[in-house]
């Protein structure tokens, strides 16, 4: 009597496989990232993975849960990678570690581990770190900065001085700062056309990283790991708001394409708002969740005090998930036309 609950037939699926597919889907984006920045991001991914596994192991040990089973489910690694990809690539090693540990220990395991966290752990890590270490979290490598592997390693390990050239900004931040400094004298189209940091349609090089995420996301959708509602609604919410303001005043507001392909928009759309644990689960709920997350992300990144708003937007929508789910339950079989 080794098992006794029906059904006795099970499909060949597992959490591990789901997580592995998510990791695979991140690879195109990572490849573009390496091409853009250099191998530093690989190092960050390794640091994050290690920290995540250690944190996970520690928490599982403390909570007396089976170690091997949960360490190999891949969920900690997904969180770690998302943290590493959201953080600036040359942030000091301890920042990544702090972020990952905060995600794993506080956002995940205090709520009972896999599947029980109401907030997206990676986004909690990002929000906590940008609030606690705002300077470090906005130091992005300046464009065209070509550092050797040893130099990058030195910076991340804290051995080499953080060179001045590194205090660059993301295209989003650059645009915001320029607009603020220009105080009405500069306009977006000129900025986009003249400054080197803004590449073909978003930020130089960054648009390809985003394209990588887009490809990975589409693959996940094709593999049925994620559904289309949340990403589509996120993209829709973001571009709708961006489109309206752009149409109203193209001098002051960048076009939707710029917003979609810069910052964490597409990473968020395909890998963050699709997180089933902290996201909405109903058909309409996913649409609402994605749309509002996109809209809030836009508002925060354009009007708010932070360079990007995806993390905060997702967290704010995570807050609303129980209510959204409750009020968007689809009618069940036989209850569609109550007479």
């Amino acid at each position: 009597m080794s098992w006794s609950t029906p059904p006795y037939l099970l499909a060949d699926v597992s959490v591990r496989r789901v997580m592995l597919q998510v990791l695979v889907a991140l690879l195109p984006g990572i490849a573009a990232y390496v091409w853009l920045i250099g191998p530093a991001i690989i190092l960050q991914l390794l640091i994050a993975t290690l920290a995540a596994l250690l944190g996970e192991a520690l928490m599982l040990r403390l909570r007396r849960r089976p170690l091997l089973l949960f360490l190999t489910d891949g969920s900690a690694i997904v969180t770690a990678w998302l943290v590493a990809l959201a953080f600036p690539p040359l942030s000091p090693w301890w920042l990544t570690v702090v972020g990952v540990l905060f995600a794993i220990v506080v956002a995940k395991h205090l709520y009972g581990g896999l599947g029980q966290n109401p907030f997206n752990p990676a986004m909690i890590a990002f929000a906590a770190c940008i609030v606690s270490f705002p300077a470090l979290m906005s130091q992005w490598p300046a464009l065209g900065l070509r550092l050797s592997l040893a130099e990058q390693f030195g910076i991340i390990a804290g051995l080499a001085p953080r060179v001045d050239a590194m205090s660059g900004a993301t295209p989003l931040d650059a645009l915001k700062t320029a607009l603020k400094l220009g105080d009405g004298a500069v306009d977006v189209p000129t900025l986009l056309a003249t400054q080197e940091v803004f590449g073909n349609f978003a930020g130089r090089g960054w648009e390809w990283v985003s394209t990588g995420y887009l490809l990975g996301g589409l693959w996940l959708w094709q593999r049925k790991v994620i559904t289309w509602q949340a990403p589509a609604a996120f993209v829709g919410g973001l571009s709708l708001l961006a489109g309206i303001l752009w149409a109203w005043n193209p001098q002051q507001f960048a076009n939707p394409l710029f917003h979609l392909f810069s910052g964490g928009s597409l990473l968020g759309a395909f890998f963050i708002v699709t997180d089933p644990v902290s996201g909405s689960t109903t058909f309409r709920g996913k649409l609402i969740f994605g749309f509002l997350a996109g809209a809030i992300a836009y508002v925060i990144r354009v009007f708010g005090g932070y360079p990007d708003g995806v993390a905060f937007a997702v967290l704010l929508m995570n807050l609303c998930v129980p209510l959204i789910d409750m009020y968007t339950q689809a009618p069940i079989f036989g209850m569609k036309n109550p007479k």
Partner: protein
């Protein structure tokens, strides 16, 4: 007009009375175990807080200021709030037993809700006029109710989660409130956008 909207939205989200100003934590932690009670508490607080801001403004403007009795502000506000809460409870109990069943037990709790005292005092500190005071009061109250309901939703869900034994109950609620506060920090700076 935009000024008023900014004030209202600012009070609801950006300067959320619970998650940003960290006022009114006792009912926030205490009455958020279930969604229905959170709704009840939210509605009751919204009513009382709005009335209290108006009453406090009138008392301050026409009673305390003319006589130079600013130093009695806290005292007189507390008394006023307590009286309003009591009156409200009695009236509701008599006129609508149904509503009283929903709100009844939360009403007395509002007396001890520091947000209800804090918001009128903030009004005076920010030199709001009567309309602004009311708007700020209503906005704060709506913000309070909003996060209370969201918090209750999450707590109901976390209730079923496999939370480590030491963190069950109040501890995980505190952690959740902290993370919510973190999320609301995303709104920082929005009300200063020009």
């Amino acid at each position: 007009m935009t000024h008023y909207i900014f004030l209202l939205v600012g009070a609801v989200l950006v300067n959320n009375v619970v998650l940003v100003k960290i006022l009114g934590l006792c009912p926030f932690m205490g009455v958020s175990r279930k969604l229905e009670t959170a709704f009840g508490m939210g509605a009751a607080t919204t009513f009382v807080l709005t009335v209290a801001t108006g009453a406090s403004y009138i008392i301050d403007r026409y009673l305390l200021l003319p006589f130079g009795l600013e130093y009695l502000r806290t005292l007189s506000f507390i008394v006023t709030i307590a009286a309003i809460v009591q009156l409200t409870e009695m009236v509701i109990q008599k006129t609508s037993p149904l509503l009283h069943q929903v709100l009844g037990i939360y009403l007395p709790l509002i007396t001890t809700n520091c947000a209800v005292l804090g918001v009128p005092l903030l009004n005076i500190a920010n030199r709001h006029d009567f309309v602004e005071s009311l708007l700020f009061g209503a906005g704060s109250a709506i913000g309070f109710s909003f996060v209370l309901v969201l918090f209750a939703g999450i707590r109901e869900r976390v209730e079923g989660a496999d939370v480590p034994p030491h963190f069950r109950g109040a501890a995980i609620a505190m952690v959740t409130a902290g993370l919510m506060s973190l999320a609301f920090m995303g709104f920082a700076g929005l009300d200063r956008y020009q």
